[in-house]
């Protein structure tokens, strides 16, 4: 399946401005299914890693209090056109997703 991570990186000199959005339910574990009344188990991203040319530029540790379809933005220095920028996450069920873009 195609990655459900979207990433937009804007180069501003050597500073990369990163915005990323990913599809994930981010279930809290305290919601109940409206039809069955059963508790929906927690299902959330635990850790996100952003790398530029394989060097980590940001690691985000998440709880269930990060909103559904999480969004993150940050800036890092030392980027240039042609760099390979990658985003990946793992969640509490061991699922994962990743994507990469070449900076322009």
């Amino acid at each position: 399946m195609a990655s459900k991570i979207k990433v937009k990186v804007k180069l501003n000199g050597d500073v990369a401005e990163v915005k990323s959005l990913m599809m994930h339910p981010m279930e809290t574990g305290s919601r109940k299914d409206p039809d069955t009344g059963a508790t929906i188990p927690a299902h959330h991203i635990t850790q996100l890693t952003f790398t530029n040319n394989n060097e980590p530029v940001m690691i985000v540790n998440c709880s269930t209090a990060v909103s559904r379809d999480p969004y993150f933005s940050f800036n890092f220095a030392g980027a240039k056109a042609g760099d390979t920028f990658a985003v990946s996450w793992v969640d509490n069920k061991g699922e994962s997703d990743s994507t990469e873009v070449v900076l322009t």
């Binding site: 500073v15 981010m26 809290t28 305290s30 927690a42 635990t46 850790q47 890693t49 790398t51 394989n54 060097e55 980590p56 530029v57 940001m58 690691i59 985000v60 540790n61 998440c62 709880s63 269930t64 209090a65 990060v66 909103s67 559904r68 999480p70 969004y71 993150f72 933005s73 940050f74 800036n75 890092f76 220095a77 030392g78 990946s88 793992v90 509490n92 069920k93 061991g94 994962s96």
Partner: protein
């Protein structure tokens, strides 16, 4: 409740061991104990070894006064403090107060934004870790009952 939670945390740790560790670049495993803490001070202790932080004007916390939607509260944190190692967000009145924690390698600017959930009106605190210690700022965000849209 407790055994269940411990089991959950063990599960998470096991998963982290299985999936995350091979990625050698990870700085630190997911801090399960800090995220599992029910009291904000416990979350701080688990994450930093202390629950004390120094209020700082050098941190700007962007958060709405009244959240349009408790499920999606946009927040941003920016600081001019040097050598920032991490930025963490604590929502005191959430069932698990530690919401998110950004680990910031050298070269990355201390300027982050994300969207979080808030169960009720609560102080939102940004905790910034530097080699000089923990610094913080806070802002109260009101969460109201929605109208038809909410």
């Amino acid at each position: 409740m407790q055994p269940g939670r411990r089991l959950f945390i063990r599960g998470v740790l096991a998963l982290a061991a299985l999936t995350a560790v091979p990625r050698a670049l990870l700085a630190m495993a997911w801090p399960a104990n800090a995220f599992g803490a029910v009291a904000a001070s416990d979350a701080m202790n688990e994450l930093f070894g202390t629950s004390q932080s120094t209020p700082s004007d050098a941190i700007t916390l962007g958060a709405p006064e009244i959240a349009e939607n408790g499920a999606v509260v946009p927040i941003s944190i920016e600081t001019s403090l040097p050598d920032v190692q991490s930025i963490s967000v604590i929502v005191d009145k959430n069932p698990r107060p530690l919401a998110v924690s950004f680990e910031i390698p050298p070269g990355t600017q201390a300027n982050v934004a994300c969207r979080i959930k808030m169960g009720e009106t609560s102080p939102v605190r940004a905790i910034v870790k530097t080699p000089d210690g923990l610094f913080s700022t806070e802002k109260e965000v009101k969460v109201t009952i929605g109208g038809c849209g909410g």
